[in-house]
């Protein structure tokens, strides 16, 4: 747990210095009037919270503190409580419910699907579970090799076929193999795809469909990976992936950068989807369980 606060805390602090010093400026200069509130709203906007969510949070703050003399810490506290209130319903553990338990990783190109698979695999392995990776990205050059390198580093099995093979068939066979071997968890990588490409989304649906032939409840988790640098387009991504393949969990990556991933606050407001993990680096240990309070505080530099 300490690692999480440290890594996310320090990562987000680096990126939140501006946010927080901005608030310090605004609040110590004058009492909380319209101008101050507008400035606060703008600061939330620069963290990608989006206009609607930002105004909503600032309105809350205004109801509680308008025209009062307020300290910097107080404003931050109220805002982070507001964020936490929205995010806390997304905080859920990822439970393993089947054997084999199938997790399919989806998302647009380059968000961090493959790397996150390595991170999850490491986590499950450390918990004593047997894990198999399925190299379901048969499209992008060297995608299979990339997953294979991770598998080697982690000492895990990877189910892989030559480039260009049918991804759905691969997933189907990988399941059969895992079942036969008594593997606890299969992590299925998929090719990155833009959510507005019907053809590619159909291919993803097919992967899900064939997995259901083995087990009606599979995939037990269909996770959407979102990149913290992405702005308001995360809404369109989640909406499309949820409609097409019933995404039932999120992972937010690249939170070690200067982007704060604030768009998830808006997502949490709009969709009922758990956020399971955060990616905070490129190594297989750079994965943290999502904790709403820690995230909210880190977003406002309270840790």
């Amino acid at each position: 747990m300490k690692g999480f606060f440290k890594k996310l805390g320090s990562a987000l602090t680096k990126s939140s210095t501006k946010l927080s010093s901005g608030i310090t400026d605004i609040v110590t200069k004058r009492k909380l009037d319209h101008d101050a509130l507008e400035a606060l709203e703008e600061l939330l906007i620069t963290s990608d919270l989006g206009l609607e969510t930002s105004s909503h949070l600032v309105e809350q703050l205004s109801k509680k503190r308008f025209n009062k003399e307020v300290s910097d810490a107080e404003v931050k506290e109220v805002l982070s409580e507001g964020v936490n209130e929205i995010l806390v319903k997304c905080e859920k553990p990822l439970n393993i419910t089947a054997n084999p338990h199938v997790i399919v990783m989806t998302g647009v190109n380059g968000v961090g699907k493959t790397t996150t698979i390595a991170k999850l695999a490491k986590k499950f392995k450390d918990e004593g579970k047997s894990v198999m990776l399925a190299a379901g990205d048969t499209f992008r050059a060297a995608a299979g090799e990339q997953l294979e390198v991770w598998a080697q580093r982690l000492g895990l099995d990877v189910y892989k076929k030559e480039a260009g093979s049918d991804a759905a068939a691969l997933a189907f066979e990988a399941y059969a193999k895992a079942k036969e071997d008594g593997t606890d968890i299969i992590l299925v990588d998929t090719a990155g795809r833009l959510h507005n490409k019907a053809g590619l989304m159909d291919e993803l649906k097919k992967i899900i469909r064939v997995l259901k032939k083995h087990d009606e409840s599979a995939p037990h988790h269909c996770l959407l990976v979102l990149d913290a640098t992405t702005g308001q387009n995360t809404h369109a991504q989640l909406k499309a992936f949820q409609e097409m393949v019933d995404v039932n969990g999120l992972i937010i990556t690249k939170l070690d950068g200067s982007a704060k991933g604030g768009s998830i606050v808006g997502l949490a407001n709009e969709f009922e989807v758990p956020i399971y993990f955060l990616g905070v680096g490129e190594g297989f240990d750079d994965l943290q369980e999502f904790n709403a309070e820690a995230f909210s505080k880190a977003l406002l530099s309270l840790v």
Binding site: A11, K14, S15, E42, I45, T46, S47, D48, G50, L51, V108, N109, G110, V111, G112, T115, F139, R140, A141, A142, A143, E145, Q146, E148, V149, W150, L194, H195, N196, K197, A198, G199, D227, T229, T230, G231, Q232, N233, A236, E243, K254, D256, G257, S258, A259, K260, G262, S263, E282
Partner: protein
């Protein structure tokens, strides 16, 4: 769906008719809407503020105050200004140096650098007849060097042989040296993705730059990027003195505000946009298209591109022929419904499609009418069900459908006879319209479409007949598509 700037300014200025003149207050209100539109499109806040100030100065002028349609005028000023800011100067690659010219590719993780390297290599080889070598300095991500090697093979350019264990600066020097000795015109250096906050990696790419003196240093960025575009662009520009930007994933549906942020912060031209996963999907940047998207004013080109993604071209071709010959039957109508549903699924619903059509002056009104008429995808689904409950004979010859049969079809599809009648009427109207279209020919049809657009709110009852959704697929997109 976002409201378009047009809608918003329309409502800001709608009271103007009564007042007769633009007050300072009106301008302020308009600027607020512009600010909102830009922020929703992910333009970074400092850039938004600057932009709004500039526009305000221009907008407060006489011209706007006295113009008849101030909302349109303001939108035009905003749109022109955006287009100008996004790309006034010609953005060609500068490779006029003693060969080999070095192009250094840099950017955050996962933005598409390696794919863009492959595309750029293909572009230079095919379009400019250059002898191109590529080299991957990405020793960070597993199999990254392998990835570029495969892409190089696919586009038919040289890939610097991979030497395990070499560090980026070493690889870069080796690449330039090899390119020089072997007479290559251009060498493109692909680098690992890195965060602006990672000092160690930022220093490393700085060293690469110092060691290779590139003629082009391109920042690759993704059209979906949010507010962080400012920090990232600044950091990369400070470290590397960028010469240009490449905007990737323009084939997605992001509004692309990051393009403006990055352009403004670095002052560097956007030299290319990536428009697909295929290696020839690299285009010169079209500032007016991105400007339109940022403002949510419609992106016809984008709509057409999406439509062609969604629509089976052969199928569309077939339909068009049937329409022209007048053999259009219920089966064809069913096929059209399928395509419209597909397109609408990708565009945020039917109203999403309409949102992409520029020049529909009052989208709100159209949307309201659509709502009033229950025009959403479920209507199409219901109509599909009706057709599916008909026998093949009935589909080919709807005139067979008399009272008894109608009742059966209604039952089978879980609808009412009224619904069946409505569909049949729509079908008839489509047939009539197609006959008209045949008489008008291609030109006449375009004219009709234009008239329709100008009528705005008249969409559902427009001359396309049949009303939506039957009318739209028949008369406009996507059925009318192959006519273009």
């Amino acid at each position: 769906m976002f409201e378009t700037l047009n809608d918003k300014l329309g409502s800001v200025f709608s009271k103007l008719g009564r007042k007769g003149a633009l007050s300072e207050q009106d301008v302020t209100a308009a600027m607020r809407e512009i600010r909102v539109a830009l922020l929703e499109a992910d333009v970074a806040l400092p850039v938004v503020k600057d932009f709004v100030e500039q526009v305000r100065e221009e907008a407060v002028g006489e011209k706007v105050l006295k113009s008849i349609k101030p909302d349109q005028q303001v939108v035009k000023i905003v749109n022109d200004k955006l287009t100008e800011l996004l790309g006034a100067e010609k953005a060609e690659l500068n490779l006029n140096v003693t060969p080999p010219a070095v192009i250094l590719m840099a950017g955050l993780q996962g933005v598409g650098k390696t794919t863009t390297t492959g595309k750029l290599a293909k572009f230079l080889k095919d379009k400019q007849r250059k002898k191109v070598m590529v080299a991957s300095l990405d020793v960070q991500r597993p199999a990254a060097q392998e990835q570029l090697k495969i892409l190089a093979e696919q586009v038919g350019v040289e890939n610097l042989p991979i030497v395990a264990g070499q560090q980026p600066v070493q690889i870069a020097k080796r690449a330039v040296e090899a390119a020089r000795l072997q007479g290559f015109d251009v060498v493109i250096l692909d680098t690992a993705g890195r965060l602006a906050l990672n000092e160690e990696l930022m220093n490393e790419v700085k060293d690469v730059r110092a060691a290779t003196n590139p003629s082009e240093t391109l920042l690759v960025t993704d059209a979906m990027m949010g507010q962080d575009a400012v920090q990232t662009a600044k950091a990369f520009h400070d470290a590397l003195e960028l010469t240009g930007i490449v905007l990737t994933r323009v084939d997605g549906d992001a509004r692309g505000g990051a393009a403006l942020s990055m352009k403004v912060v670095t002052g560097c031209p956007i030299k290319f946009s990536g428009t697909g996963e295929k290696l020839d999907a690299l285009e010169e940047f079209h500032p007016e298209r991105i400007a339109g998207r940022i403002l949510g004013m419609g992106d016809v080109v984008g709509l057409v591109e999406r439509a062609s993604e969604a629509i089976d071209q052969d199928e569309a071709e077939k339909l068009a022929q049937k329409m022209q010959s007048g053999e259009f039957d219920m089966n064809d109508m069913l096929a059209q419904f399928k395509q419209v549903k597909k397109l609408s699924g990708m565009s945020g619903g039917l109203s999403g499609i309409l949102g992409m059509i520029p020049g529909l002056p009052n989208m709100n009104k159209v949307k309201e009418q659509m709502k009033g008429a229950n025009l959403d995808d479920s209507v199409i689904t219901r109509q599909e069900a009706i057709i599916l409950s008909m026998t093949p004979k009935e589909r080919a010859k709807p005139a067979l459908l008399k009272a008894k049969r109608k009742e059966r079809v209604a039952k089978g599809s879980g609808t009412s006879v009224q619904d069946v009648n409505k569909l049949l009427k729509q079908f008839q109207q489509m047939q009539t319209m197609m006959k008209k279209m045949r008489k008008l020919g291609k030109k006449g049809m375009m004219q009709q479409m234009q008239n329709l657009m100008q009528q705005g709110g008249g969409m559902p009852q427009g001359p396309m007949g049949g009303g939506m959704p039957g009318g739209m697929p028949g008369g406009g997109l996507p059925g009318g598509f192959p006519f273009k």
